[in-house]
Symmetry: none
Subunit: 211 residues, 4 copies
């Protein structure tokens, strides 16, 4: 099975300073690191809802302005702290079979969000995005779209192999696959079991092949 991490492109990390002449004292990378580390710590301990800029600044030994200079809001800071760990845990499976690809992708996602605090941080970020439009944009651009683009490659391959028709609506397929998973994560009405993953993929693959 091949495996391709999300390229660490774009940026993971704080807002860049002014592009051009770079006069004055440069931003401290040490501060960047200390802030993200402190944020991760607090996120793991208390979740996003319990994370205040005040506490992150105190733990990082940094002034609050130093944080606000880099991130416009609590949510975007949390996003960067989150991505540092989450990013790269979402593989692009390539098994030669759509069923196995989808199952591997879903299992990888589920592995990330269960067990540790990652799942509830992810849920917290989606929650925060409902009230912070800036975070909503970042979230879509840097997480949702990125992952979807990657997952669409699996579908491309399946089309190329003739497993599914070329007219397949990729967007809807991915909404079905991950929508179901996010649904359980956010509503908590049912657990994210492997049996669940298998069933989801079964119904989905069958549906794609008979439409």
């Amino acid at each position: 099975m091949a495996d391709a991490r999300i390229p660490a492109s774009g940026h993971v990390g704080p807002e860049p300073g002014p592009a051009a002449p770079r006069r004055g004292r440069p931003r401290s990378e040490e501060a960047d690191r200390a802030i993200l580390a402190a944020a991760s710590e607090v996120l793991a301990e208390r979740g996003l809802a319990g994370m205040s800029i005040e506490e992150v600044a105190a733990r990082a030994g940094v002034g609050k302005t130093t944080i606000y200079r880099r991130w416009p809001s609590r949510g975007t800071l949390a996003l960067d702290a989150f991505l540092a760990e989450f990013q790269g845990q979402q593989p692009l499976p390539d098994t030669g079979s759509l069923r196995e690809d989808l199952l591997a992708a879903l299992r990888a996602w589920m592995r990330s969000v269960t067990g540790t605090s990652t799942g509830s941080i992810l849920a917290g970020l989606i929650a925060e995005a409902q009230r912070d439009p800036g975070l909503a944009v970042s979230w879509r651009e840097r997480v949702v779209e990125r992952l979807r683009d990657q997952h669409k490659i699996m579908l491309d391959r399946a089309v190329a192999r003739g497993e599914i028709p070329a007219e397949t609506d990729y967007e809807v397929v991915l909404d079905l696959l991950f929508g179901a998973a996010y649904h359980r994560l956010l509503q908590g009405h049912q657990p994210l079991t492997d049996q669940f993953a298998r069933q989801v993929v079964s119904y989905l693959v069958a549906g794609l092949q008979h439409t």
Copy 2:
């Protein structure tokens, strides 16, 4: 098409006082009404994130304690205010065809959450439930489970008609159907169009009939 609203069973409204002999001055139903009306008003204007207990109390002409006596948190109050409108808008379609039933149910849900502020209030409630465990429980019991129980009846009928196998995993089916829809509502990466609804149902029905 037959149509059955969710029975207003259980309770919609504030926490009940002590069950037994009801000593002392009874809770004011007038206050109940004023609080819920004020909460609905604020929710529509500013969304859940912008709703403070303080403002609801002021608008309702009520002391803050009168609210805290009935609802343990902002979220549970918002839930009651929300349900007063949302409840009863989710029909139980009975068209004689699984495809049409699922489509009608999904379309009804989409009608509720688009156009007005209901959609973002619903999203706000799910967001709030991520940080308020009490709300999470109420949300599951009074919204999620209730709706799912109702929707399972559609699947029962389809089984009875022989459209789908008796072994069908109802939980997964509903997660696929509504998970996809909630996904678009919460992530906002794609709009909730009727084309989306038709595609979701098509893939799903095909998948159920060929597994």
Copy 3:
């Protein structure tokens, strides 16, 4: 030494109910007792500032209205609870000597206000009277004037014995005697020692006899 307690005249206890025909259920004397006992308890534990009607009602097993029906304010309730103990501890000495009479009266007062919580309750009542005009009136009528009237008898006797002139200004004399003592109680800048009592009386008697 003769000794005459303040007659328990006037009233110690709650406001009288309606004078005339006494219809309906009679006031419960049991409640009176329970309230005063509870008030004394709380006063001793937390002082007047820490005594709330709410807590007294709860400890007495009585509704708040039952207290408000009898006493117009926290202060007047505290006054009654206080007087139940303080009243009768202030003797009217009759030793045959002004110096000894004054000294005995001052010592009796000092004995009352030191050692137990009585002193700080008394201070608390004077404090409360600064913000509760009703209490101020009761305090003057039922404590200050009563005690002063009694103490003036000592001065009458001294005049009769020819120890001090008939023109002596009783009011000023008592203000000097007890004013000094209250001063130390309330300001706390110096302790209420027996040495203090003797000095006060010495200066005072000397002053009276040479004016």
Copy 4:
């Protein structure tokens, strides 16, 4: 007659911040002034019992924390607002005669506490000090002891002039003089007339000279 105001030594004003290197943004003196002015205003209008931190903050156009950062309690704030006016109204008379010195000092005090709201504010402060130990300490240190130290100078001079014995107990003398006055202020049983002042001083001076 010479006249010496209390030196504005020690401090009149809010709690000092940390002594040493003064890091961070310095406390705003503008805020200090606005708070004290607002407090004085409210004190004059409603008295200490009717003064809330909330209202002072609102009138001063200042956050509540800005007040709490400087003063630990309502009482200590009121004390500073009070002292700004009271301080300096208490002269140190030097007439060459003990009788005249005492009379002048007592009359100055009486002038301060009658007529305007100063008297009831002073009474309110003493009342508040009964329930706020921090205020009690400040009150003793910054008002009582300061004034007494000043007044003892009058007694020193009288001793030097041979008017009274060197063994005179200054503490008791001052307790008699001002105790009587505070007594009338706080108990309200008799008015603070000039006749009262003359009588008090007469008895006291006579007493001192014949003991």
